[in-house]
Every structure is written in structure tokens, then in C-alpha cells.
Symmetry: C2
């Protein structure tokens, strides 16, 4: 069920939106059934047979067959020579319009490339979705080692640099609500208590950058800065992830901040 | 209706899949109606009101309201503070699984970056969809001028370097069928006759690269090479687009070929 098995290198991935456990499609609306077919695909299951889809979507084989047929005709799914279904190009084209997905990434990419050129480290762009960050982009050299975050991966806000940068600039009520929920712990260094998280968030606001040291894995460190939209609100965060042992936070910080400000300006933000 | 208004710099964009003209949703299936809501969004219309969606999808306001509600709850659409709908992050996450979309782009990106570093010119990755190429990725420096292709843009196969590279390696029947259709002409240099296209395709197969000189606009030239998948079939093409006046095709050709072979190897191709 986990979609982040190959995300930040740890096996302690957070749970994803579960596939509907309902064994019968009878009580569900037509849109719900069609969306359940799309939701059957995830990073652990990018290619599915009709039987797989039926089982994972909780639909009868007849219903799944009809819906998969409609989705395939439209181009949302594609059937390969072996009869297995994949997500189709047409869906990708529509999804490329998502302002918080490819559209944001398209504006940010030159600045992310500059940051990669300047540091030759893993570079990420992420947005907030509920209690998680979603990685919209990552760049790493072909020879890059260590961290393997993929586009679309999710992680809890409090554990990552990008998550802390996003949370620190969220509405105070939203921050407080998050601090009061149980905080998942991945290493001995992960922030596990609300009181400590509140102090860290205040520090992020004071310094303008978020540093997550060994919170996700024992050996990685990230430095993140917030990206602002036209109205000044924080809409994304950019970060560099490096091996903790050789991390030079004072060197990375200005580069990350410059990239975040460049993306903010490109989005229409004016200091 | 055109979705390629900001594609390769010309106003002569090819027509896109039209929005259904049906004024009534009554005769259409439930999946068709839901997909019509998604299809209402395109590059010229990335943000729509409920009324816009209803009109563009050919649905009653009541039906559109119900379907948009379901799509928004699922996360396929997002409603902003002003009540306008955009494509949502959740759809983007599912679409990121498309093997011919983000998944291919993810594998190819390091090689595209290498090609950009080596040439500092516009770099593209495209796949074939019917009679068109769809651009999966483009890279250009922040200071890049001239060509503005965006991700998701489409162009007819015979006019572009990537299109010629893809068509030249397609099934012979598919090539012949294309050569017999009317060929849209964008400049005095565009291939407009099937006989000439056949000769060009033979030349592409012989040399291993496709050169499109001034075929899309009067001032641009592209050099493209095919990308092969695990089974040796051509699944994509990579290209560099430069100003025609200063283009050095013999210099660009090896760089484009090396990048295309690198991506092919990463996809599992073995020479």
C-alpha cells in the first residue's frame, strides 16, 4: 500500500491514501468508481492487469472492464502488447496543467538547475498537501549517490527540511494543529514532540531557512527555504540534500535562499 | 480550441482534440461525462469557473456541479479562493506514473541536462501520439531566447526533427500512411509532399539523425536522434533546437546522438 518505498532512503514510509477497501461498487457513485480505477495505480503498482485493477479498485470485473475501456479510449490509460494497463499520455497532458504540479515545476526548473550547478548536490522542490510534503521535482547528477526521492513521493512535514519550511509559514492554527498530532519518528534525531517542533518552527521563521539533520535517515541533512507566490504566501519549498557528515550548512544556505527567491520572483512575488 | 498557441513560435498551430460539441450529457456514458470535465482544461484554459466547465464539457450546470464536486473531493481538481477550478495535485501524482510521460522524462533528464550543458541550446524530449509529437520535456537556460516549446505541446511529425526521427523508425505501413495524408505547411521550407518526405525519412535512417531546417519557423533548425527501448524499438526522440543562421549541424549531431544513446541504455537497450 505504501507509495514511498523508494522515497527518502528508509523503509519507514508513511501510509498513503488507501485504496478503497469496499468489495462492491454498487453503493458508490459513478465518478467514485472511475476515480477508483485511476487510484489503483501507484508507484508500487504502475502496471496492472484488468483483474488487478478490479481487485484494487474494489469493482466487479464487468464494471472494471467497462470503465477501463472508457479510460483507455480517452487516453487516460494505455494497454501494452502484453495486455497490461499503464497510465496514459493524455492524462499526463491534462495533469501538466496542475498549477502545483508541472506548471510550478516548469517555472522553477531553471532555478533548480542553477542550484544544482552551484552545489552538485540533490536538489528538490516540494509543496504541501495536508500533513505531508509532495516532491514536485528533484535533480541529481547521473553519478549522484545516496538519497533517492522520486517525483510524487510524500513525507511528513516535520521530518524534512522542505516540510519544516512549509509548516513554519503556514497559518498559526494549522501549525498548532500539526504540533498537537502524534509525530512519526524515523531516526533518533526525528522531532517527536510538539514542544520541540514549535521551537524549531520559530527558528525557521527567524533564520529564513529550515535545516533537517538526520531526521529522515541517519546520514542525510537538508537545507530548505520557502518559495512565495504573488500574494506573498508560501506556496512551495526548495532544498538541497547532502550527506550529513560532509554537510556545510553555512555554504549551502545562501545558495538555497537565492534559488528560492528566484523562483518566488518568477512566480510574481515582490519583496 | 488550439492548445498549442504558445508552442513552437508560429501562429499556425495544428488543431487539438476538440472539446465535445454535444450540448447535452444525456446520451453520454458516465465515464465520458467525467472525462469531458477533465478535457475542458487545456493550455489555453488552465483555470475555469463551473459555468465555463459546464459549457466546454457540454454538460448541464447541475451535472457539471456534481462531477466537479466529485473530482474536487478526490483531488483531481482544486478550487482556489476566487472559486475558480484548476487541475489538482492528486491527478498530477497519478499522471506521474505514465511510462511515456513523467516516468520516461525522469529517466531521460540527466542525459538531457548533459546535452544542455554541452550545447547550452534548447533541448527537447518527445514521443509520438498518432500523427503528432508530444513534447515530454524541454530544457533551456533562463536567458534562452527564441523557441518556446512547452511540455505537453504537440506538432505534426513531418515538420519537426523529433517527429522525423520518430516517423523514420515507425512501422513501414505507418510511414506510408502518413506520407499519403495531406502535409500541413508552416514555412516555404516545410516538407509538403509525400515523395519528398519519403526521401527525407530514408536519409534519417541512413544517417541516424533527423535535421529539420526552417520547417516550423523561418529561423530555427533542429537536430534529433531516436531513443530506443529495451526491445530496440524507437520510443522517443531527443533534439536540440538552435537559430538556423548560426547552426553547426556537424557539431550538434554527435552530442545529440550520444544523449539519445545514453537514454536508450538507461531504458535497457543494448546495442
Amino acid at each position: 500500500m505504501s507509495m514511498t518505498a523508494d522515497a527518502v532512503p528508509t523503509s519507514a514510509s508513511p501510509a498513503r491514501t488507501p485504496v478503497s477497501p469496499s468489495p462492491s461498487g454498487a453503493a458508490r457513485s459513478a465518478p467514485d468508481r472511475l476515480l477508483a480505477v485511476l487510484a489503483a495505480f501507484d508507484h508500487a503498482h504502475p502496471a496492472l492487469s484488468l483483474t488487478d485493477i478490479s481487485r484494487r479498485a474494489g469493482l466487479t470485473l464487468t464494471t472494471a472492464h467497462r470503465l477501463v475501456g472508457a479510460l483507455t479510449e480517452w487516453g487516460a490509460l494505455e494497454r501494452d502488447a502484453s495486455g497490461v494497463y499503464h497510465v496514459g499520455l493524455r492524462l499526463w497532458e491534462v495533469a501538466a496543467l496542475a498549477p502545483r504540479g508541472l506548471a510550478l515545476r516548469q517555472i522553477a526548473l531553471p532555478y533548480l538547475e542553477d542550484l544544482y550547478e552551484a552545489t552538485h548536490e540533490n536538489v528538490q522542490l516540494a509543496v504541501r498537501d495536508g500533513d505531508e510534503v509532495v516532491y514536485i521535482e528533484w535533480l541529481s547528477g547521473r553519478s549522484a549517490v545516496g538519497v533517492h526521492i522520486r517525483v510524487g513521493a510524500r513525507w511528513p512535514l516535520h521530518a524534512t527540511g522542505v516540510g519544516l519550511a512549509l509548516l513554519a509559514h503556514a497559518e498559526p492554527e494549522s501549525q498548532e494543529a500539526y504540533c498537537e498530532t502524534p509525530l512519526a519518528v524515523f531516526t533518533p534525531y526525528t522531532i517527536g514532540e510538539g514542544a520541540r517542533l514549535r521551537r524549531v518552527l520559530a527558528e525557521v521563521r527567524r533564520t529564513g531557512v529550515a535545516v533537517s539533520a538526520r531526521q529522515v535517515t541517519d546520514d542525510a541533512l537538508s537545507v530548505a527555504a520557502p518559495v512565495r507566490g504573488q500574494d506573498g504566501s508560501v506556496v512551495a519549498a526548495v532544498s538541497v540534500v547532502v550527506p550529513q557528515l560532509s554537510a556545510q550548512v553555512p555554504v549551502l544556505t545562501p545558495a538555497v535562499r537565492v534559488a528560492a527567491r528566484g523562483i518566488s520572483r518568477a512566480l510574481g512575488w515582490q519583496p
